[in-house]
C-alpha cells in the first residue's frame, strides 16, 4: 500500500466516509470529523505511520491537504 492509500484509509476508516469524500475535506466540514473524530484520526495516522505528532500539529491539522504537509515533518511523504 502506498502512503497515500494508508493516509486515505485512515480517513475512510476512522471517519466512516467514502474515498471520494476525502479530497479537499476540511476539519469540521462533516459531522464525523469533529473533535472526537479528529483524535481517532490522529491515533490511526500515528499507528499506521508509527509516529507521534506534537500537540500544535494536531491543532493545525485542519484539512486533508494540510495533513499531508504536516506529516512531512515526521518524514512521511504522501
Amino acid at each position: 500500500m502506498t502512503n497515500l492509500q494508508k493516509y486515505e484509509n485512515a480517513f475512510i476508516e476512522t471517519l466512516g466516509i467514502e474515498q471520494n469524500q476525502t479530497t479537499n475535506l476540511e476539519y469540521q466540514a462533516i459531522p464525523e470529523w469533529d473533535s472526537i473524530g479528529h483524535m481517532s484520526l490522529i491515533t490511526a495516522l500515528e499507528d499506521v505511520f508509527d509516529i507521534m505528532m506534537d500537540t500544535d500539529d494536531i491543532i493545525d491539522f485542519s484539512s486533508f491537504e494540510k495533513g499531508k504537509e504536516l506529516l512531512k515533518k515526521y518524514d512521511v511523504q504522501i
Binding site: 469540521q28 459531522p31 469533529d34 473533535s35 472526537i36 483524535m39 491515533t43 500515528e46 507521534m52 505528532m53 506534537d54 500537540t55 500544535d56 494536531i58 491543532i59
Partner: protein
C-alpha cells in the same frame, strides 16, 4: 484579533499590557454580541449600558452565569450551531446550554492547548482518564465532563479509561496500561471527586501498589463534594503521593460557559489567569472590585466566546485574588484561589453532578 492573542505566550503579559489587550478584545466582543444576540442587546439597553463610557474591561457588564439556564443565548444562526455543551446540572436542576460554532469550538481547543502546554510541555503522554468511556457517547451534545475529557485528550498519545461504564475501577485495564508504558511520564486526568472516590479509594483497597512518581495528574470540577468528606486540598495531594508516588498534581478551575479558558494551579498552589481570560472579584454589596486578599464573588472574562455572549460572566463562586504578576512560579497575570460556592448557589460542579446522582 483572537489570532494575535494566540501568538503570545499565555502567561507573558504584565498587568498594563494585559489590561489593554483585554479591554480591546472584550469591547469588540461586547459590540459583536449586541449586534448578533437580541436578548443580550435588550439586557444591555435595559441597564442603560453605553460602551463609550467604558475605559477598561472592568467597566463592561457581566451576565450572571445562571442566565444560560434560563435563556438560549447565542450570537449565531440555528444553521451555524456546531455543538451544544451543557453544564453539569443534575436531575431537577436546569442546565446551561452553550452554543458553539466552528470558530469558537476551535478557539477553545487552541487556548486550552496553549495553557496546558505551559504545565505539561508540548510533547504528548500516555493518558489515563479517570472516568468512564460513556461520558462522551453523544457527540453533538456533551456535558462539561465530556468536554473536559475531550479537550484534554489532545495531550494524550495512547488513551485508556480507568473506570468502566458502571463507574467501577477497571484494574486489569489500568495494570495493562501502566505495564505498556512503564518508565514513561504518564498523564492522568479526571474530575476531582472521581479521582478521589473512584481511583484513590479503590487503590487503597487493593494490595498492589502502582508507581506513578513520574506521572502528572490534572484534575478539576469542584471540591464541594469532597468538602463533605472533609478532604482538604493538601490532604488530597499527600494521600495520592502516599499511595502511588504521584506528586505532580494540578487542580484547575473552569466552567463550561467559558470552556477553553481554564485556570491551572501552579507549583505553588495558586490558580493562574492566562492572557485568554481574567478573574475579577467583586463585593456582594455593590459589585465594586475587591482588593487583593479580599474575598468576593468571582467574575470571569474570556476572549474566546464569539458564538454566545459569555465573554463576561458573574459566577456563583467566591474567591480571592492573591496577587498579580509576582507569583514565585514566574507566570504573569493574576493568581487566586477559589473558596467555594456562594451560599444559596446550586450544586453544579462537574464532579458534583455525579455525586448528586448517586
Amino acid at each position: 484579533m483572537f489570532n494575535e492573542i494566540l501568538q503570545l505566550s499565555p502567561f507573558s503579559l504584565s498587568k498594563s499590557e494585559k489590561e489593554l489587550l483585554l479591554t480591546r478584545r472584550l469591547s469588540e466582543l461586547t459590540n459583536h454580541h449586541i449586534k448578533n444576540c437580541p436578548e443580550y442587546a435588550s439586557i444591555l439597553s435595559g441597564i442603560g449600558f453605553d460602551i463609550a463610557e467604558c475605559g477598561s474591561y472592568y467597566d463592561l457588564p457581566f451576565l450572571p452565569v445562571s442566565l444560560f439556564k434560563e435563556l438560549d443565548l447565542k450570537s449565531i444562526t440555528q444553521e451555524e450551531i456546531f455543538k451544544v455543551m451543557t453544564s453539569s446540572g443534575t436531575t431537577g436542576q436546569a442546565v446551561s446550554k452553550i452554543y458553539l460554532d466552528k470558530t469558537t469550538a476551535n478557539n477553545q481547543q487552541k487556548a486550552l492547548a496553549k495553557i496546558v502546554s505551559e504545565f505539561t510541555g508540548s510533547s504528548r503522554m500516555p493518558m489515563l482518564i479517570i472516568d468512564s468511556p460513556s461520558v462522551i457517547k453523544n457527540r453533538t451534545m456533551f456535558s462539561a465532563r465530556g468536554a473536559g475529557i475531550l479537550g484534554f485528550s489532545i495531550f494524550g498519545a495512547d488513551k485508556a479509561y480507568a473506570l468502566n461504564d458502571d463507574m467501577e475501577i477497571d484494574l486489569p485495564a489500568i495494570e495493562a496500561f501502566f505495564e505498556k508504558h512503564s518508565g514513561k511520564r504518564i498523564l492522568l486526568f479526571g474530575f476531582t471527586f472521581m479521582v478521589w472516590s473512584h481511583f484513590y479509594k479503590e487503590l487503597l483497597k487493593i494490595k498492589h501498589r502502582f508507581d506513578l512518581h513520574n506521572g502528572i495528574l490534572i484534575h478539576g470540577g469542584g471540591w464541594k463534594k469532597l468538602v463533605g468528606e472533609s478532604v482538604s486540598k493538601s490532604e488530597f495531594k499527600s494521600k495520592l503521593t502516599d499511595i502511588c508516588g504521584l506528586n505532580d498534581i494540578h487542580d484547575y478551575y473552569g466552567m463550561v460557559e467559558q470552556t477553553g479558558c481554564i485556570y491551572m494551579e501552579c507549583e505553588h498552589g495558586h490558580l493562574h489567569a492566562s492572557i485568554f481570560s481574567d478573574v475579577i472579584t467583586r463585593r456582594h454589596i455593590d459589585f465594586s472590585p475587591c482588593e487583593f486578599g479580599e474575598p468576593g464573588i468571582v467574575q470571569v472574562v474570556s476572549v474566546l466566546p464569539e458564538s454566545y455572549p459569555g465573554h463576561s460572566l458573574l459566577t456563583e463562586d467566591e474567591g480571592v485574588i492573591l496577587g498579580e504578576d509576582d507569583c514565585p512560579c514566574g507566570r504573569k497575570g493574576k493568581y487566586f484561589q477559589i473558596n467555594g460556592r456562594l451560599k444559596m448557589a446550586e450544586i453544579r460542579g462537574c464532579s458534583d453532578t455525579y455525586a448528586v446522582n448517586r
